[in-house]
Amino acid sequence: MEYEEQKQLIVDTLKKKEKTKSKWYFSDLAKILDLKPREAKKIVTKMVEEEVLVFWSSGSTSMYGLKGAGKQSAAEHEEG
């Protein structure tokens, strides 16, 4: 699968569940892509660089979300 298709796959999957789930573990994304972690990381990192995905961190655990998705952005007076 080409990068653009992989990106679309993640965006579509995350959007479909946006109302109930805004934060995803890295392993969830690897599962969506059906790739080994190292390969999936390259795609996910690129999507963060393109600002399609954002990191979320509790301090101890990191997760990923679509930029602007979820309550967090609004609640924290963040843009986007």
């Binding site: 890295f26 972690p37 990381k41 990192t45 990191f55 961190s57 101890s60 967090q72």
Partner: protein
Amino acid sequence: MAKNKTPLLDQLESGPWPSFVSDMKQQAEARAKNENNVEYQIPVDVVDDLLGVLELSYVDGETHWKHGGIVGVFGYGGGVIGRYCDQPEMFPGVAHFHTMRVAQPGGKFYKTDYLRQLCDLWDFRGSGLTNMHGSTGDIILLGTTTPQLEEIFFELTHKMDQDLGGSGSNLRTPADCIGQARCEWACYDTQDLCYQLTIDYQDELHRPAFPYKFKFKFDGCPNCCVASIARADMAFVGTWKDDIRIDQDAVKAYVEGDVKPNGNAHAGRDWGPFDIAKEVLDLCPTECMRYENGKLEINNRECVRCMHCINVMPRALRPGVHGGLSILVGAKAPILDGAQMGSLLIPFVEVNKESGYEEIKNVIEPIWDWWMEEGKNRERLGELMKRKGFQALLEAVGVDAMPQHVSEPRHNPYIFWKEEEVPGGFEMDINAFRKRHLR
């Protein structure tokens, strides 16, 4: 006059120990006075409001911090931890109160001008409150607002040659002891290995893709001054392959009282004359030492590197010259299943700068691959090892089981063999069997 009344926090100052409350009040006052005319980039009363929100938490018996957040510097998934107060109108100074982690210098060697620069930056763009050092070992800058993050990151990287540390599901800021810079016991160059792996594993440090946190720690000798064996998912503990070096004249000097034991660390009280049998030989866990006719002998094959004899008689005994390190894996603090110490995986590996530490990386990377594929979300390596068994770890790393992996004889008599481990496999010639065993 304090902005918020804090009767419960004030009580904490009444104990016999130094109090963080006093430190915070001092900082709140210093910011209000602003004797150095700093153009504060975040609210002047940030520390007052921090005291206020903490007092409120004590009154309510619950936290007023939200859980995590989406902050960071561009491209980094770690190093910044979003902290937001859930009472921003009551305490606007801490509406945003993000933490930044800064990679500490190797062995925590600072120059005062470095510290001054760091503190000036933090007074200017943050609360001025620091935590030196966090349990991971890094420099923790407490409390700033979102717009300041990139500015601070620029200053750190461009003017101080300094990077952010790790947080979240990342490789955390690797930590080391002072090593060969000042310590004669260091069996390898901890600072070089720590630095090199930090540089080589930048992707793991800054872009989270692990199931949970992962810590490297480097101890130059088995004294384990950074407690890697108890705290690091992967501990690199210096050791030696040959014999403990003995200076017999110096041993005699200890016995005759000419040199004080333990580097004279117990000088505060008269403990009587030094007794080598009571203070060294009888305390050797494997009883592998003897002192006869003025000569100390060590059965080095039995030595378990407890370091006791070397610590007591540092002038007489030194680690061997053939240094390297042992790798232990799976230590963690007690969130799930209680605290866990590291398990020995590699008893000895050469520390080879010239090869770019290839031999060590050949252990690290398969472990990461295994943990990334098999680990559940928020499962530490030590927990995965427990769930899957040490054997699964050995297979993942490609290391054969060896006596050093065994801490005690088996109390479980069952051994599960795989077909490839059994000579001839599981297939057998039934006719040959029946010749020996009648139906």
